[in-house]
């Protein structure tokens, strides 16, 4: 059984936009509502959209499972690693060691009305990116595992 051509085509067209929007939510987590988990969930929804529109057995081969595993572990490692790095610098666990350092994400937050500076907030964006990568991989894997037992009959 297949969805109609309209559904399949519009899912294909929507997919990149969903992914881009998810990545936007991840990247701007520290200055707008949203963050790593929300963005990652949005990206995973893109994968779910494609799987629902096409039959699961048709798309199965196209999904890079190894990459998703790597994302799942790598995202969490980045998260913990960012926390541990502060410890190696002599501060407590999860110390915001990048804030106001002048390097990556290290600009001081401007005072007064401003459109929101992306390059601020120290390692919070790093955390968001790490969580985003992890949730992207993890939730997609959850969807895949739930569908992996689905037989041809459809349950």
């Amino acid at each position: 059984m297949q969805m109609s051509k309209i559904v399949r085509l519009s899912a294909d067209i929507m997919y990149p936009f969903v992914v881009i929007f998810g990545l936007y939510v991840i990247m701007h987590g520290h200055i707008t509502p949203g963050g790593g988990f929300q963005g990652g969930a949005v990206v995973a929804t893109g994968a779910a959209l494609v799987i629902v529109a096409h039959a699961f057995h048709d798309v199965k081969a196209m999904i890079p499972k190894i990459l998703l595993y790597l994302q799942e572990s790598g995202g969490l490692l980045l998260f913990i690693g960012a926390g541990l790095a502060g410890m190696l610098l002599g501060f407590p666990f999860f110390f915001n060691w990048l804030a106001n350092s002048g390097s990556l994400f290290g600009m001081p937050v401007p005072i007064g009305p401003n459109p929101g500076e992306l390059n601020t907030a120290g390692f919070l964006p790093l955390m968001n990116i790490a969580v985003g990568i992890e949730v992207w991989g993890g939730l997609t894997l959850v969807i895949l595992y739930m569908l992996s037992g689905v037989g041809k009959e459809g349950y």
Binding site: I31, F37, A41, P113, P115, G116, V142, M146, G149
Partner: protein, 114 residues
């Protein structure tokens, strides 16, 4: 009256959630009941942090400093994330059980008793 409306919603959701959990015999519906209960608590937490007339707690471009409390929202986000994991795990269990037992009726899922 209107100030208490959210609390009424919390109470209603709690009752709906509890009765769904206890009265429905379908495992998927029990999971949904637990989700409704979680939503009730999340709503309660958000409502506790709400201040009438307050704005979103973002200092960028803020017209005033009278804001709603950000901590309850952070708590609520964490609890939503935990809720997602919980739901995913419960539904996977339900799927495995359906595949092995051929039923999702809680009255029939009782191989382990006594």
């Amino acid at each position: 009256m209107f100030a208490n409306l959210p609390y009424l919603a919390v109470a209603t959701l709690t009752v709906i959630g509890l009765s769904t959990v206890l009265l429905k015999r379908n495992l998927v519906k029990v999971t949904m009941g637990l989700n409704i209960l979680t939503s009730a608590v999340n709503l309660l937490i958000i409502v506790l942090g709400y201040r009438e007339g307050g704005i979103a707690p973002i200092y960028t471009l803020a017209p005033q400093t009278y804001m709603v409390l950000p901590t309850p929202q952070a708590l609520c986000l964490t609890s939503i994330v935990i809720g997602v994991a919980t739901t995913a795990l419960l539904l996977s269990f339900t799927m495995v059980i359906y595949r092995k037992y051929g039923t999702v009726n809680v009255d029939e899922i009782r191989e382990l008793r006594e």
